[in-house]
Amino acid sequence: MTADQALYVPSYTADDQDVVSELNARFGAQAFVTQATRTGMPVLWVSRDQLLDVLRHLRDLPRPYVMLYDLHGVDERLRTQRRDLPGADFSVFYHLISIERNSDVMIKVALNEGDLNLPSATGIWPNANWYEREVWDMYGIHFSGHPHLARMLMPSTWEGHPLRKDYPARATEFDPYSLSVAKQELEQEALRFDPAQWGMKRQREHEDFMFLNLGPNHPSAHGAFRIILQLDGEEIVDCVPEIGYHHRGAEKMAERQSWHSFIPYTDRIDYLGGVMNNLPYVLAVEKLAGIKVPLRVDFIRVMLAEFFRILNHLLYLGTYIQDVGAMTPVFFTFTDRQRAYTVIEAITGFRLHPAWYRIGGVAHDLPRGWDKLVRDFIDWMPKRLDEYEKAALQNSILRGRTRGVASYNTKEALEWGITGAGLRATGLDFDLRKARPYSGYENFEFEIPLAYNGDAYDRCMVKMGEMRQSLRIIRQCLDGMPEGPYKADHPLTTPPPKERTLQHIETLITHFLQVSWGPVMPANESFQMIEATKGINSYYLTSDGSTMSYRTRIRTPSFAHLQQIPSVIRGSMVPDLIAYLGSIDFVMADVDR
């Protein structure tokens, strides 16, 4: 990406081999080991010595890989099915996206237990910073040249590296927990902020700075989020976001849940996204299993996912306006959310966390009368949206508070891994539902709302537009809902097909095992990204041919969005930070997982 000009996004190329030949031309084919996966992108192993050269080359290619989309590790020590892969105790993967090619590439590097060292990629993509810290935190892999390699999600006093296979997964595997006074004081002392650690000065020539600890309990922090501000008066000189207070170890849990029983955990990643979270997970599992779902399933899934997009955006809109100081709209948007939940509840039986998608389909067919409920809602919403826009978003005080506040351009957004409305507010037309259609989105007509200033106001306006488009998609689902089964006919779907179990003992045994142990997914790797409520959310699954996932990497948009905060907010005032936080749309569960 050269400058800030608008980019043309071509149609998606899966398994784009161009980049492989470009890399081979530069480094020679012997430099790479190609891994065949179902991730939909070339996966290349390189040696540690060549890693940075390869990454930098990819960053500098014509039509470059501008975004470091994801970076994490895998403990390879217990993996049994590693045909033709370089020997490794641990591996680290770099998932890169090129917007101009609309394709991805994954670079992997193998590491031995005795020498867990890697050069840092922070010099190439600034957002490698937090990812590398998390890899250090979770696996104990050291990155040389990293500006501040401290723990990311776990407290600084933590011992061990939780995602290692030899680290216990359950509380019952530990000694009982106790908290003595001395330990409590130690933990509290560890939370004290030391500016020197972060290379911050306590004073300038003529003034002392104030260090303000905003959060983890603050009305506008949108969850347990802590951000430490270095203030000169009310001006933010610098800041340090600190996350991890909402960390539940979802990726670790995935390694001891069956493929099926992990679905409810995904609901709780972005807890405002409901079934939207199930979608990338079940799509990735279906890729592993080779399941193709019926058209009706696609339609039902899309309809409910768009319902949750509206639900999320309504909460976003209400709290955004509230963060700017107007107290009333949030009550109205919550009233609308209740109406949406009425529909969700009638269809799925749950409200916040339906966990309703299944491997190969959905849990039930749509109930009788669903169409009337959906129609009532989509007839009700548009005039409410108009009202919000007129009464709140066109208010001059609100505009004065948010226009030009916390703005960044497309180039910066891509450097920091920003996706979703935060990216489209800078003018880049990159929405996965159009750019890389999944789950049948190519069947629907809708537009991608864009804005061009990349400020807090534009981010909100993009979300407003998205709600209108979601209503449009839901209406098409309503009018064009195809007939057919609500689950694919495939032995690996969950719950497994039962029709023939009472006639055939072998089928009965298989059914019994599949219900009690769960289905066995073929050993491979798969990946699915979707345009979730807050940006791009993806699941990168590694199966070792077992009833459970070997490694589940959950890449969430909010993690990247929070990492960007200091670079955007330096030099602004405290109220600007609040407006900015309100405009990002994040929940801490989505950040910490």
């Binding site: 306006i321 009333t328 109205f332 208010n395 005080i397 005032m573 109220p575």
Partner: protein
């Protein structure tokens, strides 16, 4: 019984009236918490407090019980004396200022010749409540809040005084009773002094730290700002003090610009108190409606608005009024 002369009776009656007014103001200030919550709920599609008594009207009693029995907590790191003093000032300064308001032709606590100046003095004192609270709490959020409050009060006091000088120039008196009498004989000041009314109203909202001028407490930014460390009755005094401020500013608006106790076009002069109460209630509702409907401007935008818009407006208003008064003489 010779000491029980007419004079003593007059004094006793006056004391009695003052006590009644004091109680009425405090009670109506406290009741406002319920009124505000009900009104906000009405505008926000919800119920608000409706459990205690008819329409929840006894909510005040429940709240007071709760507040009295809460631990009267002073943080160990606070400056204890100033910390205690702050809520006392918050509640009393504006309450005392109510003394100069002429409620009806016969009711009112003090008939001061410098009535308006007395109000300015008391309004100026309120900043100490916020300043003391913010400083003595020894909390960074409280400190930021009180910094904002002092800067805000300073800037808005400047044109608050000036905004009323037009009224004073026309009426020729600082005495509020005289100002009402002048309006009985001439037009209500809302017509000739419309600019004065607008700027005084804005300044009044700012002085009471009400939304959208509540930057000192700005929940979303400073998590309640200057009174973040307060709890129980001390917090309650800040709370009631704010409502008393609303009642006072509303009453002043009525007195200065809407003819005090008179009805419109001299209607029904037999019910002066009803007119006064109705008009005051109207402005109180506007205060609440403001809170329900507006976002909060940024602190520097608000200061810029005060200095660059309101101050020039009041100065222009004063100059024109002065010129007209001189010309009419």
């Amino acid at each position: 019984m010779s000491w029980f002369s007419q004079e003593v009776i007059d004094v006793l009656v006056q004391i009695g009236k003052s006590i009644v007014i004091l109680l009425a103001v405090v009670v109506s200030g406290a009741l406002l918490s319920w009124v505000e919550r009900r009104m906000l709920a009405l505008w926000q599609d919800r119920y608000g407090p409706n459990r205690v008594g008819p329409f929840g009207a006894f909510q005040l009693g429940a709240d007071m019980l709760k507040m009295f029995f809460k631990e009267d907590w002073t943080p160990p790191f606070a400056d204890r004396m100033i910390f205690t003093l702050a809520p006392v000032i918050a509640m009393s300064a504006l309450l005392i200022a109510f003394a100069v308001i002429p409620i009806t032709p016969t009711w009112g606590v003090a008939d001061l010749n410098i009535g308006l100046l007395f109000f300015f003095a008391m309004a100026g004192l309120t900043v100490y409540a916020v300043l003391f609270a913010g400083w003595s709490s020894n909390n960074k959020f409280a400190l930021l809040g009180s910094l904002r409050a002092s800067a805000q009060t300073l800037s808005y006091e400047v044109f608050m005084g000036l905004s009323l000088m037009g009224v004073v120039a026309q009426a020729g008196s600082f005495n509020l009773r005289d100002i009402v009498h002048y309006q009985m004989e001439n037009l209500w000041f809302i017509i000739p002094q419309i600019l004065g009314f607008l700027t005084f109203f804005i300044a009044g909202v700012a002085v009471t730290h009400r939304h959208p001028f509540d930057q000192p407490e700005a929940e979303q930014e400073l998590a309640d700002g200057y009174h973040i460390e307060y709890a129980g009755m001390k917090w309650g005094m800040f709370f009631v003090g704010e409502y008393i401020g609303i009642v006072l500013v509303s009453a002043l608006l009525v007195t200065l610009f809407f003819g005090g106790w008179q009805g419109p076009f001299g209607l029904l002069p037999q019910i002066p108190f009803i007119w006064f109460a109705l008009k005051t209630a109207f402005f109180i509702m506007i205060f609440i409606l403001l809170r329900a409907s507006l976002p909060r401007p940024r602190y520097d935008q608000m200061m810029a608005f005060g200095w660059k818009v309101c101050l020039p407006l009041t100065l222009a208003n004063l100059l024109v009024t002065g010129a007209l008064v001189l010309a009419a003489r």
